[in-house]
């Protein structure tokens, strides 16, 4: 029994946890390779035209996986916290994949809705769904860890992650350079080395170290209380509060907000950041990325941005 997890969208947030929990159920987990041009263009061929870039790439990952696995793990993630949704495309994701791609293996599309049922119930349901397949849990059934244990693992994992964030909030510092630029944006766009068009690599080559961070929960709540209305998208919350965090952080010299073109929530979040946060205090640029973006255009903008920061240091 092999279960496939496409390396896109929520994989960048929960991938490791999913992999470990499924392994604990005694199932071999296969992930698709990192995004390449081929994967993206395969995905684009199977999607309607104005879908956003990460979803198109996700279709490509499903296509890359579907022939090597017995089933695909694409949970329907509705809410990851009680008072916020994810983008509607996550809610319809398993159905979209089913509609866009033919000859698919079985899809495990268990609902993840923290408002209606806790995480433990979700994993229980996943387990029940996997059990429905007779062949599948030959080995797994014997070794399967009880759902409580899975939950304990998940909690520990989260705790460790939070500790790490608190210890050094520069969660991912890619290398040491004299300038530091913070990158804000959705994890599935910023952390995917193909979809972000090599922004990180290019900035490192220019002698800039890049920081990406997700603020902790209390900080997000504090940021939300400053806004006229709570943001009801989990990732939108993170984007806005990470920009605020970077504006406050003395060690960060400039901020780049990466959003994909046509991203619904981010089209409003960029406007909200411009209006409510003091972005004039630091060099701040928002980039929108889609599949037609040329590398040369992007590089020119980044060079200009880095030049601007350097000049600011020279004359201050």
């Amino acid at each position: 029994m092999r279960i496939g997890i496409p390396q896109g969208l929520l994989y960048f947030k929960n991938g490791r946890l999913w992999k470990r929990n499924l392994n604990a159920l005694g199932i071999e987990v296969v992930t698709s390779p990192e995004t390449t041009e081929g994967i993206l263009s395969d995905g684009i061929r199977h999607s309607v035209c104005d879908l956003c870039l990460p979803v198109k790439a996700f279709f490509g990952h499903v296509l890359a996986l579907k022939d090597n696995v017995d089933c695909l793990f694409i949970p329907r993630v509705i809410r990851v916290e009680p008072d916020a949704f994810l983008c509607p495309k996550f809610i319809g994701l398993p159905d979209m994949v089913r509609a866009a791609i033919r000859n698919l293996p079985r899809i495990i599309d268990t609902e993840f809705n923290i408002k209606e049922k806790p995480e433990a119930v979700f994993w229980q349901e996943v387990r029940r769904e996997l059990k429905g397949d007779r062949k599948m849990l030959l080995r797994g059934e014997a070794e399967a860890i009880s759902t409580n244990e899975i939950l304990r693992c998940a909690q520990n994992d989260r705790k460790r992650r939070n500790d790490k964030i608190e210890k050094d909030h520069r969660l991912q510092k890619f290398s040491e350079h004299k300038l530091t630029v913070g990158i804000a944006g959705r994890p599935y766009l910023v952390l995917d080395n193909y979809l972000n068009k090599g922004v990180v690599r290019y900035m490192n080559r220019l002698g800039v170290s890049v920081v990406y961070q997700t603020p902790e929960k209390n900080y997000i709540i504090e940021t939300m209380s400053m806004l006229p209305k709570w943001i009801y998208w989990s990732m939108g919350k993170e984007v806005v509060s990470s920009v605020r965090r970077m504006l406050e952080d003395e060690s960060i010299d400039g901020i780049i907000l990466i959003a994909n073109a046509g991203c619904g929530p981010d089209s409003f979040m960029t406007e909200l950041i411009d209006g409510t946060l003091p972005v004039h205090k630091k060099p701040y640029m928002s980039l929108s990325i889609d599949e037609h973006l040329s590398d040369a255009g992007l590089q020119t903008r980044i060079e200009a941005f880095v030049d601007m920061i350097e000049r600011k240091f020279k004359y201050n």
Binding site: D50, R76, P88, D95, A99, W230, G264, L272
Partner: protein, 367 residues
């Protein structure tokens, strides 16, 4: 206090007169036009959806006309609509307008809506608040039924322009009906008016279902008057999305009408198992329903970058090939050209006509 609410189809016809009688100085903005669109597009975020831009343009026009309070519904759904008010207020303040913004952040709750009505008007008792709110809902239902009758009559009429005249006359009659009894009489009168339209009863026009995002479906400016265009081409438009149905799902003022959302969920269940916000579940569910009812084709319309309808659009693509059923997906934004739309509609209608002819021919041959 001069109050305005951005336009959404015929909604302003439903509340303006009623609220004026209860001491609210209602100033509806001018009907959306090219000017509205230009204003909205100029100040909106790049990838905001079309309803946002038209609403913003409407607000600017209203503020230029001397309005000082804007009422904007909100929400906490996964769709962007719930956050419109916040961003629009921010943009308008940035442009230097002075006004008050009232957001009703819970448009699904009856209590909140009635409270909003009592806050803005001179209605004292709670009971009166409910009475006025339900009167507005009933007026909306009558307005929707007028539109439905128009779409039924227009392709069949014998004397050109008679259906339009009946439509305009009905709107005038509803405008005057500001009580439950008056509204009931007005409704009967409207039915008579439409009965007087001379129609060709032998004609069997093509039927096209219109589905999609609610604002774009019900606001004729946003969809470039798509439905009237179809009606003028001699096609019977069967609309799947009505504002009164949307309201009825929440406030139950038509107790005999089943909950459309729940029904759509049932119909859509093989394709979309959980409503992903907006009208996605209605779009998918009613496509399946229209297919079973024998409607010739579906036109699915949505604003550019609409998140819920993109989910629906992906799935409709599959339904279309699975059931061998024509579905035309149209995306609207400020760059859509009228000629392009006309060409695509004509091609689609031609396709439907040919399909019908072939089907009739094959049935004839097999007998």
């Amino acid at each position: 206090m001069k109050l305005t609410v951005p336009h959404m189809g015929l909604l302003s016809n439903a509340y303006t007169k009623v609220l004026r009688e209860h001491g609210v100085d209602m100033c509806p903005p001018p009907r959306p036009s090219i000017n509205t669109m230009n204003l909205g597009v100029r100040y909106s975020p790049e990838f905001a959806c079309l309803p946002f831009k038209i609403n913003l343009g409407n607000m600017i026009e209203a503020l230029e006309g001397g309005v000082d309070t804007i009422l904007m519904p909100g929400g906490y759904g996964p769709c962007r609509f719930g956050y419109y008010g916040v961003i629009q207020e921010q943009i308008l303040r940035g442009l230097g307008y002075h006004f008050q913004m009232t957001r009703t952040d819970n448009p699904d709750s009856l209590g909140d809506m009635v409270k909003t009505i009592r806050d803005i008007s001179d209605i004292k008792s709670k009971w009166d608040g409910y009475r006025v709110f339900y009167l507005i809902l009933m007026r909306m239902a009558v307005l929707d039924s007028v539109e439905a009758m128009y779409f039924k009559m227009k392709p069949r009429e014998i004397n050109q322009g008679e259906a339009e005249r009946a439509f305009d006359e009905s709107l005038k009659i509803i405008e005057k009906a500001t009580g439950y009894m008056k509204l009931f009489n007005a409704y009967n009168k409207i039915k008579d008016i439409f009965r007087d339209v001379k129609i060709d009863r032998t004609l069997k026009p093509l039927k096209v279902g219109i589905l999609g995002e609610i604002f774009v479906v019900i606001e004729p400016f946003a969809n470039m008057d798509l439905q009237r265009k179809l009606a003028r081409m001699g096609v019977e438009v069967v609309r799947g999305v009505w504002l009164s149905d949307w309201l009825n799902d929440r406030f139950r003022f038509k107790p005999l009408k089943p909950n459309q959302n729940r029904l759509s969920r049932k119909w859509a269940s093989p394709y979309l198992k959980y409503p992903s916000g907006g009208e996605s579940i209605e779009s998918v569910g009613k496509t399946v329903k229209f297919y079973k009812e024998g409607i010739d084709g579906i036109i699915h319309i949505m604003p550019f970058t609409c998140m819920p309808e993109l989910v629906a659009s992906t799935i409709l693509h599959r339904i279309s090939t699975d059931l061998n059923y024509p579905v035309l997906s149209l995306t609207f934004d400020e760059h859509v050209s009228e000629v392009n739309l006309q060409t695509r509609l004509e091609a689609f209608i031609d396709l439907l006509e040919r399909r019908r002819k072939n089907r009739l021919a094959s049935r004839f041959n097999s007998q």
